[in-house]
């Protein structure tokens, strides 16, 4: 599938409308959804405001001055600069949308009202559910992780709650918007009327964090960050850290793997017992990790079916054998930044990957 024409979405045209005044976390979601469609072969026209999408200047930055964030989120797209404050700009946009299957935009965008009525199916990204009536409420990635209950789950109970790294609120919403737009395309393709799609970051974050609500509903007590009292914790090893993870049925294998006689104490034989004596449990586990490398730990743990997780940084992932073997990280020759590597779409389709084209330069 190296030829765009043979890619699954090559019959479809999408318009992504960027409005610089919309909060960043919403715009990133829109760009991710459209990028996935573009990598799958759709003709995606990214309509940028005068001066370009501000994400072109957003960190992390690349050595030659480009934005890694922009390059990741805009692969395989075309770009068109339009001033939507002008009548001619809006007319040009209307012409594009007339010919398109899908138009993606955000709820607070100046052109949202018009685009909702377009012939192309609207895919709209918002911060909050319609029930909140909060289309102009200030919002950020952190605010959504807080509202969705995710921050409450991460960190030490007596210290401040933590966000999960990355643009998780934006990207989970972007993945959702991609699935929504595929549902719309599937309907169009069979001659059905396609439904308008609306995705809010706040709803997606709660949906992802569903165990908080289900746990609270079941027991009356919300799950929350347990830090040093959690069953799964991170332990230092010789060259980094490893996440200690095992299921109830994997405990005997875990105990055998560590081989410390203290773990044979009956108080550790049940899950409840391990939770009650968690500090002691981890004190008995820790020495085994301290003198081993992540690679050694992963190898011997996997041999016994124990799912310990060595912690790798994004830089280390570039060297990961599994990723190299699967070709997950594509090489992309960029006209200015040179040779870059980045994750491809995380699917292999009949064994083929979807190598991305570099993000478009800003056309005057």
């Amino acid at each position: 599938m190296t030829e765009a024409s043979s890619r699954p979405l090559s019959r479809f045209t999408l318009i992504e409308v960027n409005d610089a005044k919309v909060p960043l976390c919403l715009r990133l979601a829109t760009s991710l959804a459209a990028k996935i469609a573009a990598d799958l072969g759709a003709d995606v026209v990214k309509v940028e405001p005068p001066g370009g999408d501000p994400v072109r200047r957003a960190p992390p930055m690349l050595p030659q001055g480009g934005s890694a964030l922009f390059e990741f989120l805009n692969t395989s797209k075309r770009s068109l600069m339009l001033d939507l404050a002008s009548e001619s700009g809006r007319a040009a946009l209307a012409g594009l949308v007339e010919q398109a299957d899908i138009v993606l935009f955000e709820e607070p965008a100046s052109v949202a009202e018009t685009l909702r009525k377009a012939k192309a199916t609207p895919v709209e990204i918002a911060a909050f559910p319609v029930e909140m009536d909060a289309s102009r409420r200030p919002v950020s990635e952190l605010a959504i992780q807080a509202l969705g209950g995710l921050m409450h789950m991460i960190g030490e109970p007596e210290r401040k709650p933590l966000k999960l790294a990355g643009h998780q609120a934006s990207y989970a919403a972007g993945l959702t918007a991609f699935t929504g737009l595929m549902a719309a395309l599937a309907a169009r393709d069979t001659g059905r009327r396609a439904p308008a799609v609306r995705v809010s970051l706040a709803e997606v974050m709660q949906w992802v964090n569903w165990k908080a609500a289900s746990g609270a509903a079941a027991s009356g007590i919300s799950p929350g960050r347990e830090g040093r009292n959690s069953e799964f914790q991170v332990l230092p090893c010789r060259d980094g850290h490893v996440a200690v993870v095992y299921t109830v049925t994997q405990w005997p294998a875990t105990r055998a793997l560590i081989g410390d006689p203290r773990l044979d104490d009956p108080k550790f034989s049940t899950r409840a017992g391990r939770r009650q004596n968690i500090a002691e449990l981890y004190a008995a586990l820790a020495p085994w990790f301290a003198d081993k490398t992540r690679e050694e730990i992963q190898k011997v743990a996997q041999a016994r079916g124990v799912p310990f997780g060595p912690i790798f940084s994004p830089a280390e992932l570039l060297q990961t054998e599994q990723y190299l073997a699967r070709g997950f990280l594509a090489e992309m020759a960029h006209p200015i930044e040179g040779r870059l590597r980045l994750p491809q779409l995380p699917v292999q389709w009949n064994g083929r990957s979807f190598a991305p084209r570099p993000a478009p330069e800003l056309a005057p």
């Binding site: 921050m151 709650p161 799912p307």
Partner: protein, 375 residues
Amino acid sequence: MSGRPLTGIRVLDFGLLTAGANTSAMLGDLGADVIKIESGAYLDPFRVVGKTDDGEGWWNRSPQFRFTNRNKRGLALNLKDPEGQRVIRELAAHCDVVVENFRRGVLDRAGLGYGDLRALNPRLVFAAISSQGDTGPERMNVSFGSTLDATSGIASLTGYEGEEPRISGMDVNYPDQIVSLFATGIVIAAVTEARRTGKGAFLDFSQREVASFTLGEEILAASADPAHRLAPRGNGEAGVAQQDAYRCADGKWLAVTLEAPDSSIEAFCAGKHRDTALAVLLGKGIAAAPCLDGNDLLRDTALQGVTLVRDENGGLVKGLPYRLDGEGLAIERPAPHLGQHTDEVLRELLGYDEARLKQLNDSGVTSTTPTIGEV
């Protein structure tokens, strides 16, 4: 309901727990006919994890199972029995999609892998969701939820600044939650292609890759710049002037994102109850939000949107992550009891008669109870 996006599509669902079962649930919510295959000898582990009591039929009362398996019909067929395998192969001829997240090789050994089923049905879209993907040296590796926080890179950037990395933990298992949001869309793309070309596809999803994909810009930056900083970042975010969670006078936490640094914000929050501080900050155009817990989410029906709904028995169910034409989830049937629809589906799709159904039941190929004790 003939006009829904996936009306007319049938899914053979081997999905377990969240990653697989939720992908099928999302297809079902879009109008597909989902038939979930379990076995008396191997239940969806969510039936067991969510066990609430020891009484008769306990396997049909798990809240976790109910959360992710609405809008499905449930079949129990023994995958290890050659007769059960034969029935499933017959069913596959009547399906458009297979979703599975078994460990690699399990379905192949049962003669139910993609190669076997494609020979019977070339239009079949086969979604294989696994920890590491279907190829590569780590394809047989086991993982459980937060294993993939660690190996995907997410944990390396999560945590208090200057301290050790952190995982999302067993009450979140973040990497498990996001896979279906992507996989469902890809399955729909492949179904659309199969309808047009008559050719199905093998879709190989690695959950670890999906999690790493969410750090695309970090991996890209690291590939170009060895000095790119990679360590736990607290609540900060590159390009954001100041951002953190601040404790308020009532002990509650407020998340605040500032466009310009303001050293007084900590004291400001400490001096006010959270809701007062929140109102003041929002009034100034500052992005602020309370750090809510599960009970807050249950109470706030406006914030919930369409993410939580109740089925006909009053049980709480995971709703939709999006809405189509403004609508949330329509629950046409609650999560099935084990084997609830086995006979119905075998009659309807395969034309089995009562004698055949009785024979399958008598020989233990089909069942409505677990056939082994503690699963």
